[in-house]
Amino acid sequence: MARIARTNLSQILLVEGKNDYHVLLSLCKHYDLPETFKIIDKEGVENVLETLEAEIAGSSNERIGVIVDADTDLKARWTEISSILARCGYLPPEAPDKNGTIIPHDRKPTIGVWLMPDNRLPGELEDFIAFLVPDKHSDSLWRHATQSLSLLPASPTRFPDQDRSKAHIHTWLAWQREPGKPLGQAITARYLDANAPDAQCLMQWLKTLFVQAPETLST
């Protein structure tokens, strides 16, 4: 948690919720990433995008990362972000880089964008977390959760369809040795595999954005 105490860092990572915040914190700790950037929970994608635009014109940051959910339409989310960047004078690519997008500028902050879960699929943080479930397809609890979800009766209080992956991961976590751990702690407790390929890819993007020397960014 020491990461948040440092307030004068000139590199920030904007995330849209406390779950994202704690997952990122746990992953950074697992990968032993140097504390060269501050993670900020902006409580909502609208706030992330508004902050991004204001910070680009702002005076404090050299590099700015954003992690937001692709939600149901990855292309629409990307268009939303790239139009903000284009308005600020950046040249964003037509589609996001599958390894996480990094966009330099000769006189403005370097921008990094990661769309949950993997810059390709629609979805959200919980879809990314599902990639971290070890041996998912042979995991009996995961399979049982899948089955249970498919058998859920209709109910006016039931979650909406787009939150199915959220329900899935939390159902699975409810059945672990210590039931009901939040996502971040589930990484630390190793219920989830922080070394899964998708986690490695996310961490590599963070390293390139925040840890590497500036000259390697522009190439």
Binding site: E50, A54, A57, G58, S59, D106, R107
Partner: protein
Amino acid sequence: MSDLHLDSLEITNFRCFDHLVIEKLGRVNLIVGKNGVGKTCLLEALLVYARKADPRTLQMLLAHRDEFVMGEPVNQADIDLFASLFADSLKNLFFGRILALGKTKAAIGNKKTSKIEFGLDAYSVEGDNTGRIKSLRILVPEEYELAENMQVRLTVDENSTQKLSMSLLRLDQVRKLLPKSGDIIGNIFIPTTGLENNILGDFWDNIALSDLEVEVTKALQIIDQQIEKFAFVKNPPFRYPVIKRQSDAAPMPLRSFGEGLIRILGIALTLANAKNGILLIDEFETGLHHQVQADLWKIIFRLANQLNVQVFATTHSWDCVEAFQEAAAEDRNEEAMLIRLQRKKDGSGIEAESYNERLLGMATRQGVEVR
């Protein structure tokens, strides 16, 4: 909303600006930035533009920074000395403090149209026997050695057309050089130290008993609700402002109530006299508490719109930025602009970043540092 005097700004070769472009200006502009990025220089450039490089204004700017220090010339020898010292000190107004005769020009104005350009040129001057000038021609540097009747003159061009050429030897004749209030109405620079009582007194004469006097009184009431009226009284050769408070039997000198009131009076009274002009305020926050600043900005937004004044102020203070943001958020005309001057990333000079009201609102909501 009427058109702004300047909707963008381009400055070339003036003071610390090699070349600065601000793409968009608002009606009320707050200029922020670290020390030494040229906030005051920007105000100076705007004043030179607004007064069309009037030599008295140039001299005032130089004198203000102790770059030209000389009293009134009293004899011919003085006048010659004055001219050569002035020509020499003029270089301080140019980038890198280099002023090459006939070559260096400073240009200030709107990005696309309307520019004021000035510099020193060598002229060939032919006079008739009464001393009246018959013809004037700017010499190219190659002609300097051979030319007879050569004279160094200040050239001012407006939109690439010569507006003024003036012999430095005759500068003393346009002087009474420190500007009198009559000269500066419409385009006014308020330094950190404020304006003198005599100038403020003249401003008061212009608005006494008008609606604008009521507006200025309202501004004073931001600090002290007890204030009912204000006026200027004379004790020759001095004039000074007095206020009448509800609880006091007699009027009292305004300056006895502290720095804040005199700052507010200076700003409000000057704004009231800047109709259709440009108002420049150096270090807005001087002497003013945060909440007072927000209320004063609100009055400025309203009056600037009403009187068609374009306002430029500088600040160092976070309080002042917040107060500006607060007032801008309430402003219905979308006329606020926050402009940050900063050194370029590659160290090659100074650039400007602008926040319009939309972006300023976003920064305020998200707690983004804009200074």
